[in-house]
């Protein structure tokens, strides 16, 4: 590693000022589980790291009175996975967090780090996009918000400008009639996802009729995306087996996968269909059980 300056600000304002300097050769350091690997093995050279460790409030995790979930960007994935509030109100998010790396990695890796690294395969992105989450971005003075689905601009790239920091993720409340789940293809532990599919579906009470639905795909495009054609096919319809099959096939239409060492583009398209079917089938089973886990 090339020498770099290590800075540890104690306020958001200070952190953003530090991030604005040095012409982009500076990065925020949260858990470091991706960043350190990039620096040690990936040839990433930086002039400075700005540690978020001592910035207050960035690891706050709480449910608001209206049922929305606020996750500070530096909340470790392990804290999300093990939070009784998240497990009860957002079990799909707790489960998706548990899919990342190992217990050791999740002690350090943060939700904001997972999102800001902007890997198309980031495990937390599809479920948070499906849940309609918002990214709260700050420049140290004022906040701006963007829908998380608009946060990514390319592989490894986000809409964060110089001196801006992802401060928090806000997940809107899931109604009692709403269900969310992330399905991931993984060979084994510690594996990056080859394809990930997350569904959020709100049903007309006492039925499997879809009132609102979002289907988000990971690792099949330059950024995590929504499968809008499939969504359009589902909203307002009763989710039965035949529709599940048709919509899962339709989800492939929005995928633009590449071939890489993990999988060929053709195989990824098959996985989109398979995982979409799994996610939609889980949603349908949940609705048919009377909206109980």
């Amino acid at each position: 590693m090339k020498p770099f300056e290590y800075k540890r600000p104690s306020s958001l304002e200070e952190a953003c000022t530090m991030l604005a300097a040095q012409d982009g050769r500076v990065k925020a350091l949260a858990g470091g589980t991706d960043l350190l690997v990039q620096m040690k093995q990936g040839g990433l050279e930086l002039d400075a790291l700005v540690s978020l460790r001592d910035v207050p409030g960035l690891d706050a995790l709480h449910l608001e009175e209206d049922g929305s979930l606020i996750m500070g960007s530096a909340t470790p994935l392990g804290a999300i996975e093990n939070s009784p509030d998240v497990r009860r109100a957002f079990p799909g998010i707790a489960e998706a967090a548990s899919f990342v790396g190992s217990m050791q990695v999740r002690s350090r890796a943060t939700v904001g780090g997972n999102l800001c690294n902007a890997a198309p395969s980031a495990d937390t992105a599809p479920i948070l996009i499906a849940c309609g989450s918002t990214a709260v971005i700050t420049d140290g003075q004022a906040d701006r918000t963007v829908l998380l689905e608009d946060f990514f601009s390319g592989p490894g790239q986000t809409v964060l400008g110089p001196g801006e920091l992802l401060r928090a993720i806000v997940v809107p409340p899931v109604p009692e009639t709403g269900f969310a789940k992330y399905c991931k293809s993984f060979r084994s532990a510690m594996d990056c996802c080859t394809v990930g599919v997350a569904v959020y579906s709100d049903f007309v009470p006492g039925s499997a009729v879809v009132r609102d639905l979002r289907l988000a795909l990971g690792a099949v495009a330059p950024t995590p995306i929504r499968a809008r054609a499939a969504e359009a096919m589902l909203v307002g319809q009763e989710l039965d087996e035949a529709l599940t099959d048709r919509a899962s096939l339709e989800a492939v239409a929005d995928a633009l996968p590449i071939s890489d060492l993990r999988a060929s583009a053709a195989y990824r398209k098959v996985l989109v269909e398979v995982l979409s079917r799994r996610a939609l089938t889980a949603a349908r089973a949940w609705a048919e059980r009377g909206a109980v886990a």
Binding site: P3, S51, S107, R108, M190
Partner: protein, 160 residues
């Protein structure tokens, strides 16, 4: 670029001058001579470098030393007390869950963290907990059994 670092390891405070690039693993092994913590892959895959940071299991190879400033680090050397092995260590020995031994300190520290958090894990939860620790010798059977024995030993300790 060196900066001052105040760190507590196994209950002892250390005041060091440490290059910003160095990881917690580097400092433990090279500065403090605590070579029980192993350097395996250096990328957070193998878990041989697992230590507890304020009680949480972390890959010390992916934790910059300065990120651990002011925190409590527990390594394998700090686990036994007064020459008596910790129940997790006893269990690994009694079950023969050690072959070459390279992964063992990481396995033991991860097991401690797992049982601290969940004193009564199922076999599935044990396997999930040990996902981040690779062993190239044993095939894991005896390691999982050792975790189960440690679970019993710790439960008995609770009763005393």
């Amino acid at each position: 670029m060196k900066q001052e670092l105040l760190i507590t390891v196994n209950g002892d405070e250390h005041h060091l001058l440490v290059d910003t690039r160095r990881t917690l693993l580097d400092v433990l092994r090279d500065d403090l001579g605590l070579t029980g913590t192993k350097n395996g892959c250096g990328a957070g895959e193998c878990g041989a470098c697992t230590v507890l940071l304020d009680g949480e299991p972390v890959n010390s190879c992916l934790t910059l030393a300065h990120e651990a400033a002011g925190r409590d680090v527990l390594t394998i050397e700090g686990l036994s007390s007064g020459g008596v092995l910790h129940p997790v260590q006893q269990a690994f020995v009694s079950q023969g869950a050690i072959q070459c031994g390279f992964c063992t300190p990481g396995m033991v520290m991860t097991t401690k963290a797992l049982l601290d958090r969940n004193p009564d894990p199922t076999r599935e939860e044990i396997l999930a907990g040990l996902r981040g620790n690779l062993c190239r010798c044993t095939g894991y059977v005896k390691i999982v059994e050792a975790v189960e024995v440690a679970q019993c030993l710790l439960a008995e300790e609770e009763l005393v």
